[in-house]
Amino acid sequence: MDAENTFETVHLLLEDWAERFETPDPTRLEVYMKHVDDLVPAVVGLRVKKLGYLAAIVGLDPGADTEELEILYHFCTQDLMIILRFRVPKTDASVSSLCDIVPSAESFERELCEMYGITIVGLRNPGHLYLPDDWKEGVYPLRKGVDPRIAFQNN
């Protein structure tokens, strides 16, 4: 399937859940999703249509003064990339786990969980993957304005 057909299929599949689509590059399609609750059905749709494999999940903090975090799911097929973008509030950052549909998502989700403090609903093992066991609870090192050194104070 070429880029035009692939992106057209994604458009048709996700148009009800998407706020807007952007093509910053002929090989990239960015889908700005309306609600984080639509993650699982959207990914099921991509899997059923065989529209790529999950290459990475990227967390983004737009800034210490902002109230939302972004989560980007990168799906790749040949030279094409489909990026699903979700926004979650920092105070109640939560997203469903993809492990039942994409087992390889587990390590990406555990990293997202400990680095950004995003609760992954349905994650079987939410324990630390990278950070030490005695890491201070509530310190999420990749959030903007967080100095990771405070995680060791009073330990």
């Binding site: 910053p24 590059d25 090989t27 990239r28 494999y53 999950l54 290459a55 990475a56 990227v58 967390g59 983004l60 980007l72 990168h74 790749c76 040949q78 030279d79 990339m81 990026i83 994409v102 087992p103 390889s104 587990e106 390590s107 990406f108 093992n125 630390h128 993957l129 990278y130 950070l131 030490p132 090192p141 990749l142 990771p148 050194r149 060791f152 330990n155």
Partner: protein, 383 residues
């Protein structure tokens, strides 16, 4: 009177000081006699906070930072980063620089695969093969040192090009080295496919079907040994790979033997590519001018590291520092397969199954905690 003994699962902890590998990782194996019934992995012992540190450094300093994520595939990390940043800045390295990047990438792949053959052979108890392959690997290390000035962190990349050139003397030295290595590699292919003792440790061991490899998200030679036809150099050519195209090396068996065969055959492919690049190296400049600040944008770059697909996400914010650098290394994808594949195998097969994915814990992890007189610091606080 007959005593009834309750049979409880027995847990074997391996690591973090790993008895086989020179890098730290922790594995919990539940065993029933000699058979592994469950496995779990704990990473992070070499986590150095590089993604956070990258946000505090400028675009140029970060080349050297990401190059230090891994001591084996340092060049490909810097290449992925530079390609992503160049895309954000809307510039392109000249054709000669792109070809030199690919040349060093392939030389790096050769040294990485030869290193892996030695490590995996050692885990299989075949130390003669380990010593031969590491001796032969010195040929490629000498080539890399002569070409770049370093054996490990080559520092070949600049933003906008490369800082090294290839002259006639380099070309002669590389071609001479490749002739030696090609003969040796034929010998290795013969050994890994015919040696009866070696095959007892590899044939039918750690078998992963194509479906399992796809579901578990395996990448690189580990996936290609299970029939997954995926190689970023071919699927999505970057740098000069659209000019110098590799052939896909794929096996269907999915066992350890297939992983050996794929990597050894990839060595031949790398020799061919290096010769082709040296034969048709484009003339011209080595670099173009790069702006100091980059307007807000983001880009995700995929490259084929020796261990598989390496993913970089870079976001700029209009300053001379990145807003975000995300690194997803191939080992984290392949590690899932180890935890699943060891179940049902004898404990003695575990080291070789783990070595079969060519794990790199430094790539996986990115922060070390230094404990000094009860004062706990990060590497960052010591800068």
């Amino acid at each position: 009177m007959e005593e009834i003994i309750e049979r409880k699962p027995f847990e074997v902890t391996v690591g973090p000081q790993h008895p086989a590998l020179k890098e730290p990782g922790n594995f919990q194996f539940t065993v029933d006699g000699e058979i592994v019934t469950n496995a779990a992995v704990r990473l992070g012992y070499a986590h150095r906070g590089i993604e956070k540190a990258a946000e505090e450094r400028n675009w140029i300093q970060n080349i050297y930072l990401v190059e230090r994520i891994c001591g084996i595939c340092s060049h490909i990390h810097a290449t992925a980063y530079c390609l992503a940043v160049e895309h954000l800045a809307n510039i392109q390295a000249p054709p000669r620089a792109q070809a030199i990047r690919v040349l060093v990438s392939e030389l790096e792949r050769i040294h990485s695969h030869l290193l892996w053959i030695g490590v995996a052979a050692h885990e299989a108890g075949f130390d003669t093969l380990f010593m031969y392959s590491w001796r032969d690997r010195e040929t490629i290390m000498d080539i890399l040192e002569k070409l770049t000035g370093n054996r490990v962190n080559y520092s070949t990349n600049l933003l906008g090009g490369v800082k090294i050139d290839v002259d006639g003397e380099h070309k002669t030295g590389i071609l001479k080295g490749l002739d030696i290595l090609e003969e040796r590699t034929k010998h290795y292919l013969n050994i890994v496919t015919t040696d009866a003792f070696f095959l007892q440790r590899t044939r039918g061991v750690g078998t992963m079907t194509q479906r399992q490899a796809e579901v578990m998200g395996a990448v690189g030679p580990t996936a290609r040994a299970s029939g997954v036809a995926r190689d970023v150099r071919i699927e999505s050519p970057y740098g000069a790979y659209d000019e110098f195209r590799p052939n896909l090396i794929i096996e269907q068996a999915g066992d350890l033997e297939a992983r050996f065969i794929v990597r050894v055959k990839e060595l031949f492919e790398s020799y061919r590519l290096v010769r082709e690049i040296l034969d048709r190296l484009p003339e011209g400049e080595l670099s173009v001018r790069m702006p100091r600040r980059i307007k807000p944008a983001e880009y995700a770059m995929r490259v084929e590291a020796p261990r598989g697909e390496l993913f970089y996400f870079v976001k700029s914010n209009g300053t001379d520092k990145p807003e975000r650098v995300k690194v997803r290394t191939p080992t984290i994808c392949n590690m899932t397969t180890v935890v699943k594949l060891v179940v049902g195998h004898q404990l003695a097969d575990v080291p070789l199954i783990l070595a079969g994915i060519d794990p790199c814990f430094s790539c996986n992890d990115r922060m070390v905690i230094v404990r000094d007189n009860r004062k706990i610091e990060t590497i960052e606080s010591r800068r």
